[in-house]
């Protein structure tokens, strides 16, 4: 799987963000190869280490599924020399054509003179020479028009590259290229005039100066903007600092330029450009020269970002020049015209609470349904049927369900649908407007009945209902609406196609239980878009966002938005979550007077909005991470090994050296009661997530029966607002960044423990209603008392037996839980019982907490250094850990302090000293 990495250096010194592409999006479209002329052998070029062939014997080429692009040194020389020579010729041609036009201007002058009744003018007008002058001028105009418009009317167009099948790639790697199957093309034919001219300018005496060429390329306006969009700041003034010189970008024989041309050709094809432009040569430079690769690396940038910026800018330029509906290269979206209602009849009533999707998409240049080609095709097939032509688009919020409807509307508008769907229109039912209309005018039943009659008569309509579950009786009864009952016959009889959208949970809740209803619809499941497609959507929105928020958005900011949305926002899916992140960042930037977004800004807004600690790991943060173990050890006494194991895992997670598809950490804490298992979990929550001591605690003893699986996987649903009914699934949905503590897992039913396999392995759990919640940002801690007895008994006899006791406890654990579950924990941490010294330290900590509470009331508390040890000795109850200490302090010390305050009348600012007598 291809991965391209990006990150902002200052933002993530340790973290490298990466956009992982799904296999579909990583389909290879090009292959680079070379021909060794001496040995007559063909080979592939490794895209990770692109060479420059200085020797003539190696000829680079580029292969797509159907074409092979070549370039030869001879051709480069020939064409670039032509460019130079024709430049002068064209100047002469234009001068000549302008001279031809001059007689026309004279004629115009004569006609002006005629207006002033000049006798000479009269004579001239009747003269035959006037005709000659006029038609010569026309010839001049023809020459100039040809010169100006020739490349505009018939521009060069690179062919589209189709994906090369995996089998073919494997064949090529195994047995080499079979060049006969490709149609040969000359790379240089696809260069733009500007790019060719720049190449020609830098070829002197059959050599090309790569340093000079690079300088010219980065000064070209489009390339300049590509660098700017990519957050790369390179210009002549920074060359020295960046190590760009004639040594690092040397002069080569013309043969060396072939590689640059082929790599630029590849960049142009992969960015779906129409021609090879200067920005593609720029990308080729960054791919081929080590010094430039190093600059990218140091700036945590990549050629993929440059390519994305080029693609965006070229597309923008193209759209600006081709926005006319008369432009035949653009798709014209039909809207039916002014008299379409003569055919279909009016929908007066429905019009009050609906909108025409076809009309709205015809007004915009935006392309809908990006990345959902399969789903749109499936929807087209369903609504085109004669019976059972209703469709349900089922998907999680944000996956682009409404975009699919709009995509279908665009297909209808451009006539790219089967015959039976041509001239159809999609009407979206607006339930809120319907309610408003019902309260204003007639009753709802009457409105619905008339609207349905109109739809039946109109005959050309596809009804689209967003959140269709609102119509279903079970749901409708709750909301007091009776629309469902009236619409059901139309749904069941498929009088006209109805397309509804809803999520999985609602589908299971309202449709699966109703056989006839679910049978009336074809289900189309919508999957979350890949980051690559999401980036495409975000890029398409950039002009709109920049126009609205007056903020410059470089490509890395978009990439970070996609990455952070995919990783951290789980209540909505891509692309909507990423769109939301970038829009929020733009809005935040506008409020704060920031006119250029950076990756840090995006991360900051995600942090603010979602309470997710994606802030930069700056020096302070790094120090905090380094000191995490020390900090936790100050709070958790006597469990050094447990703390060390956990902190190591958390460090790995924070620096992203972990599998992102699993929870941040999965630990099993073993040990007797009161040794600090739960307390350590709370401290981790506090130190790692900055969430106080707030953890999600699940008492597994509540899930002892097999029937409790459904309770475990329950969602709160409508009753979810009641605190006591919030389920585990809901709590994770609301707090994806949490420590989740499953207490006493050995008490849960084995079938429930089986659910942990999925949870720990894939970092997700699927609810009863089919909703999936992610645990990938959680620290999962399970506790168990298995082996406690062994530990306590062993240590009672001999404290030095700890290692043996721990091993015995683990053996007992392995007998109690399945090996699959055992293996899924990152660490099994055995907590040892506290000795009296640990208990004394814990007592001291407890007293410090008490002193802190007292200081809030301005009463000081002090004690002798012997007091904690006295408390430890007095309160120690073997096998119960530190809990008796807390109880002892509450009962004895706090009680005595209270008595002291009342009896002695202690006032603010005074000090109470703990007495040994209080302990004895």
């Amino acid at each position: 799987m291809a991965t391209y990495s990006f990150s902002s250096k200052s933002l993530y010194p340790y973290i490298t963000l990466s956009l992982k592409m799904n296999p579909q999006s990583t389909e290879q479209k090009t292959l680079l190869g070379y021909h060794d002329k001496h040995l007559n052998k063909l080979g592939t070029i490794d895209p990770k280490a692109l060479p420059i062939f200085i020797e003539e014997r190696y000829a680079p080429f580029l292969v797509t599924r159907d074409y092979i692009f070549n370039v030869s040194t001879e051709k480069i020389f020939n064409i670039t020399e032509n460019v130079k020579a024709l430049k002068n010729f064209n100047i002469l041609k234009r001068i000549f054509a302008n001279i031809l036009i001059i007689p026309g201007l004279i004629i115009a002058l004569i006609y002006v003179l005629q207006l002033f009744n000049s006798e000479n003018a009269e004579i001239l007008i009747t003269n035959n020479i006037m005709n000659l002058f006029f038609w010569i001028s026309v010839l001049g105009i023809i020459i100039l028009w040809h010169d100006y418009y020739r490349t505009k009317s018939h521009p060069t167009r690179l062919p589209n590259a189709e994906p090369i099948s995996t089998k073919e790639i494997e064949d090529i790697k195994m047995s080499g290229f079979k060049l006969g199957r490709y149609s040969p093309l000359e790379s240089l034919y696809f260069f733009s005039e500007d790019a060719l001219e720049i190449l020609a300018n830098n070829i002197k005496k059959a050599k090309f100066d790569s340093f000079q060429l690079f300088q010219e390329i980065i000064s070209e306006p489009l390339s300049k903007e590509v660098l700017n969009r990519s957050d790369l700041h390179i210009d002549k003034t920074t060359f020295k600092d960046l190590g760009i010189s004639e040594d690092t970008l040397p002069s080569y024989d013309l043969a060396g330029l072939r590689n640059i041309i082929i790599y630029a050709n590849e960049a142009a094809i992969l960015t779906k450009a129409r021609q090879i432009e200067c920005c593609h040569i720029l990308i080729a430079f960054f791919k081929a020269y080590p010094v430039l690769q190093q600059i990218l690396k140091e700036n945590k940038n990549s050629t993929e970002i440059l390519a994305e910026a080029s693609k965006f800018l070229l597309h923008e330029e193209y759209v600006q020049n081709h926005s006319s509906i008369f432009d035949t290269t653009q798709t014209y979206y039909k809207n039916g015209g002014i008299a379409r209602d003569l055919v279909y009849g009016w929908t007066f009533i429905l019009g009050h609470f609906s909108s025409d999707v076809n009309e709205s998409v015809a007004r915009t240049q935006e392309v809908f349904g990006i990345g959902h080609k399969r789903e749109i095709e499936s929807l087209t097939a369903t609504v085109g049927k004669l019976s059972k032509n209703n469709a349900l688009l089922i998907g999680e919020p944000g996956v682009g369900k409404s975009s699919i409807i709009k995509g279908l509307a665009q297909k209808i508008n451009r006539g790219d649908v089967p015959e039976q769907l041509k001239d159809k229109r999609i009407v979206q039912l607006d339930l809120n407007s319907l309610m408003a209309q019902a309260s204003k005018k007639k009753n709802i039943e009457e409105l619905i009945k008339k609207a349905m009659e109109e739809l039946t008569k109109a005959g050309n309509t596809i009804l689209y209902i967003d959140e269709i579950q609102e119509l279903i009786p079970a749901k409708a009864e709750k909301s007091g609406s009776s629309i469902a009952g009236m619409m059901l016959p139309y749904i069941l009889e498929s009088v006209f196609p109805i397309v509804g959208t809803l999520n999985y949970a609602d589908y299971k809740r309202y449709f699966l239980s109703n056989q006839s209803l679910s049978n009336a619809f074809d289900n189309i499941e919508i999957e979350e878009l890949s980051p690559e497609k999401t980036l495409e959507i975000l890029t398409a929105k950039v002009p709109f966002l920049e126009g609205n928020f007056r903020t410059y958005i470089p490509i890395p900011a978009l990439m970070v938005s996609t990455e952070l949305a995919q990783r951290y926002i789980h209540n909505r899916k891509l692309p909507d979550s990423a769109v939301n992140v970038i829009e929020s960042t733009c809005s935040w930037a506008q409020t704060n007077g920031i006119n250029r977004l950076t990756a840090e800004h995006v991360a900051k807004v995600v942090s603010i909005q979602y309470g997710i600690p994606v802030k930069s790991i700056d020096a302070e943060e790094a120090t905090k991470l380094m000191k995490l173990e020390e900090t936790i050890k100050q709070k958790v006494i006597g469990q050094e090994q447990a703390v060390h194991l956990i902190v190591e895992t958390l460090k790995r997670s924070r620096t992203d050296v972990r599998d992102p598809n699993k929870p941040i950490g999965a630990f099993l804490f073993l040990g007797p009661t009161g040794v600090g298992k739960t307390y350590l979990s709370r401290v981790v929550a506090q130190e790692y997530f900055d969430r106080g001591e707030d953890i999600i605690r699940v008492d597994m003893s509540e899930y002892q029966e097999v029937s409790s699986i459904s309770k475990f996987l329950d969602t709160g649903g409508d009753s979810g607002f009641q605190q006591n009914k919030i389920s585990l699934i809901d709590r994770i949905k609301n707090n994806p960044y949490s420590v989740v503590l499953f207490d006493e897992i050995e008490k849960a039913h084995p079938n429930i423990l089986n659910l942990f396999l999925q949870l720990l392995d894939e970092g997700r759990l699927t609810s009863n209603l089919g909703e999936t919640v992610s645990f990938r940002n959680c620290i999962v801690i399970c506790t168990s008392n298995i082996g406690s007895r062994i530990i306590l008994e062993s240590l009672e006899k001999d404290q030095s037996m700890w290692s043996e006791a721990r091993d015995k406890a683990i053996i007992e654990l392995r007998q109690a839980i399945s090996p699959e579950l055992y293996n899924r924990f990152d660490e099994i941490v055995v907590f040892g019982p506290h000795n009296v010294n640990n208990l004394a330290t814990i007592a001291d900590l407890q007293l410090q907490e008490l002193a802190k509470r007292m200081s809030d009331k301005s009463i000081n508390l002090e004690w002798d250094s012997t007091i904690p040890m006295l408390i430890a000795n007095k309160a120690n109850e073997p096998g119960l850990g530190a809990r008796p200490i807390k109880r002892f302090i509450q009962r004895n010390i706090e009680g005595k302090i209270a008595t002291e305050i009342i009896s002695q009348g202690t006032k603010s600012g005074e000090t109470i000293t703990l007495k040994e007598s209080w302990i004895r």
């Binding site: 064409i79 093309l185 035949t328 014209y332 009849g345 039946t456």
Partner: protein, 137 residues
């Protein structure tokens, strides 16, 4: 072959790509000959095709905006799908009244643009003819 059309297009639309090594024979006559050939090819082959495509687009737009296409397609459909004699009568009559107006606007637009294409084709010929007449008659 797909690549033929691509190569012919690029070669013929730009003298830079010609196989004739113009640079090795620095003769302006070569350039002039090529430019004239290129101009004639562009004016009489490429541009008429381009304009015909545009005529097709104009036809689509006007037809769509005036609903001509769907009115003809559903000419015999009854008014509001009311399948009775009255429905058919009203449906066909309304279309009969509207279509002549729409079609005349459509024809006007199409014929107007066709005249422009014709003028395009004639201009160089007429210019050359009149220059010759002015010179020799």
């Amino acid at each position: 072959m797909k690549n033929d059309s691509l190569q012919i297009n690029t070669k013929n639309s730009n003298p830079v790509f010609t196989d004739v090594d113009l640079a090795s024979t620095p003769n302006f006559l070569n350039y002039i000959t090529f430019t004239i050939k290129d101009l004639l090819y562009w004016w009489y082959i490429q541009m008429p095709i381009y304009y015909l495509k545009k005529l097709g687009r104009i036809s689509t737009i006007v037809s769509d905006q005036l609903s001509i296409h769907i009115l003809i397609r559903y000419f015999f459909l009854p008014w509001k799908r009311h399948k009775a004699a009255v429905g058919y009568f009203i449906g066909i009559t309304t279309k009969l009244i509207y279509l002549p107006f729409a079609l005349s606007i459509y024809l006007l637009a199409i014929s107007g643009y066709s005249i422009l294409i014709l003028a395009w084709l004639l201009i160089p010929l007429v210019a050359s003819l009149f220059i010759l007449i002015s010179l020799f008659l």
